[in-house]
C-alpha cells in the first residue's frame, strides 16, 4: 500500500461532504477542510518547497473549490478535483512569477549537500541512511520529466489511484500507468546499488 494511501471510507465521506456543500449545506465546508487541506498541503509543499507558498495555494485552492462548487458533479471524487485545481494554481503561479522559477537541479543539489552534513552528525546511522536515501530519491525524481514525476508522486506519495491521477493530469489511465512505470524504472536504475544492498540484507 502506498505511503499516502487514502482510506476508502474517509474518501467516500469527503465526497459526500462536497456533495452536500455543492447543494448548499455550508456547514459541510469545515469538515471538508479537515479532510482535504492536509493532503493539499503535503502535495503543494512538495511542489513548491516553500511553506508560505504552499499555505497560500491551499487557501486559494479551497477558495476556488468554494467558488466552483456548483460545478461539482454529483457522485464525483473530490480529491482529484481538489488536486487538479491546486496544480493549476501552482502552474499559473509559476508562469506569473517567472523570475521565481524553482531552483535548478544543480543549485538545489548544492544547497542540499551543504545542508545535510551538519544535521547528520547527531543522527543515528539508520536514520541518517534513510534521510540520505530519501534525498537521493527526491533528486532522482527532480531529474525526471515533469509528467513522469508528477504521476509518480500522485500515485505513490499522495495515495491517489491511477484513475484519480489521470483525472488530475487530464489524461488517460493508460498514460498515467505508463508514466508511473517509467518513473519506477528510472528510479530502479538510478538506485540500483541501494536496492541491491537492501536485497542482500544488512551487513
Amino acid at each position: 500500500m502506498s505511503r499516502g494511501a487514502i482510506d476508502a471510507g474517509a474518501r467516500a465521506g469527503a465526497n459526500a461532504l462536497m456533495d452536500r456543500y455543492a447543494a448548499g449545506d455550508d456547514s459541510a465546508f469545515s469538515e471538508l477542510y479537515d479532510y482535504v487541506a492536509p493532503r493539499l498541503y503535503a502535495f503543494l509543499l512538495r511542489q513548491t518547497r516553500d511553506q508560505a507558498r504552499a499555505e497560500d495555494l491551499v487557501q486559494q485552492t479551497l477558495l476556488q473549490m468554494h467558488c466552483a462548487r456548483r460545478h461539482f458533479a454529483p457522485g464525483a471524487e473530490v480529491i482529484p478535483w481538489a488536486f487538479a485545481i491546486a496544480r493549476r494554481l501552482f502552474i499559473d503561479g509559476i508562469r506569473k512569477r517567472k523570475h521565481e522559477v524553482l531552483m535548478s537541479n544543480e543549485e538545489e543539489e548544492m544547497t542540499r549537500a551543504s545542508s545535510i552534513p551538519p544535521t547528520s552528525i547527531d543522527l543515528p546511522d539508520a536514520l541518517f541512511a534513510s534521510k540520505q536515501l530519501a534525498g537521493r530519491i527526491q533528486r532522482e525524481l527532480e531529474r525526471m520529466p515533469e509528467a513522469q514525476r508528477i504521476a509518480f508522486e500522485l500515485v505513490r506519495q499522495d495515495g491517489l489511484s491511477m484513475a484519480e491521477a489521470a483525472e488530475v493530469l487530464g489524461t488517460t489511465v493508460a498514460a498515467v500507468k505508463l508514466r508511473a512505470h517509467r518513473s519506477y524504472e528510472a528510479l530502479r536504475l538510478a538506485l540500483g546499488d541501494v536496492i541491491g544492498e537492501a536485497r542482500g540484507g544488512p551487513a
Binding site: 499555505e55 491551499v58 479551497l62 477558495l63 456548483r70 458533479a73 487530464g170 498514460a175
Partner: protein, 220 residues
C-alpha cells in the same frame, strides 16, 4: 507536516466573504441555452427560405444526412459538455478526438451519401458555400457561448481543448439545420460551407475556452 493552526480560520473567513452559487439541477442550467439556440436557428432558417430552399435532393438522402448530422451532434455534445462522474471532465485525448472526429465523420458521411446518390453530388454550379459557412457560424455561436458560460471558470485541467470540443459540437448542431436548408452536396461545397465552420468553431472554442472556462487564482 502540520498545517498552521490559523490557516483554517483564514480559509473559512475568505470563503464566507466570497459568495458562490450552489449547484442547480442540470435542466435548469441548460434551460436558457436550448430555447435561445433553437429560436435563433429557426429565425435564420425561415428568413433564408426554410425547407423550400433545400428542395432538390432525393428524400432518402435528405433524411439520411439529417439523421447523420443529428446523431453526430448529439454524441459530440454528450462527449464535450458532459463530464461523466468526474468533476474534472473528460481526458484531453477524448476531447481532442471529439473536436477532430466530428468534422471528419460528418465529411465522410457526406461522401458516403454522395456515393449512393452520385447525381446529387453534381449540383455544384459554382456555389462555393459561403452562405452556408456564414449561416453555420451565425447559428452555432449561441449554443457555444451558452455552454461556455454554463461551464465558466470550472475547468482546472484543460479548458482549451474542452472549448474546442464544444465548438465542434455547436458547429455540428448548426450543421443539422444548414443541411436541411442547403441543396448542394458537392464535396468541395460541403468542405467549405459545412465542415470548415466546424473547424473554425473548434479553433475559436480552443482560444475562448481557455479564457472563459479556465480557473485562475482569485485576488484576495
Amino acid at each position: 507536516m502540520n498545517l498552521p493552526s490559523d490557516l483554517k480560520a483564514k480559509v473559512l473567513a475568505s470563503v464566507q466573504a466570497t459568495p458562490a452559487p450552489t449547484r442547480a439541477p442540470w435542466w435548469k442550467v441548460v434551460l436558457w441555452i436550448v430555447p435561445l439556440s433553437i429560436a435563433v436557428a429557426f429565425s435564420l432558417f425561415t428568413a433564408m427560405g426554410g425547407m423550400q430552399h433545400g428542395e432538390g435532393r432525393p428524400t432518402w438522402m435528405l433524411v439520411g444526412t439529417f439523421l447523420g448530422w443529428l446523431i453526430v451532434a448529439i454524441l459530440a455534445t454528450w462527449g464535450a459538455f458532459g463530464r461523466g462522474r468526474s468533476a474534472v471532465g473528460r481526458a484531453r485525448r477524448v476531447l481532442a478526438v471529439i473536436a477532430l472526429a466530428t468534422p471528419a465523420l460528418l465529411f465522410a458521411s457526406t461522401l458516403v451519401w454522395n456515393a449512393i446518390y452520385p447525381e446529387a453530388a453534381g449540383w455544384w454550379e459554382g456555389r462555393l458555400g459561403l452562405k452556408c459557412l456564414g449561416l453555420s457560424l451565425a447559428m452555432a455561436v449561441w449554443p457555444l457561448v451558452g455552454m461556455m458560460l454554463v461551464r465558466k471558470a470550472s475547468n482546472p485541467v484543460h479548458p482549451g481543448i474542452t472549448g474546442a470540443a464544444l465548438g465542434a459540437a455547436s458547429g455540428a448542431w448548426a450543421g443539422v439545420v444548414v443541411d436541411l436548408w442547403c441543396p448542394v452536396s458537392h464535396p468541395a461545397h460541403i468542405a467549405l460551407g459545412h465542415i470548415l465552420p466546424i473547424l473554425i468553431l473548434a479553433v475559436a472554442g480552443l482560444v475562448i475556452g481557455r479564457r472563459v472556462m479556465g480557473m485562475r487564482a482569485r485576488e484576495q
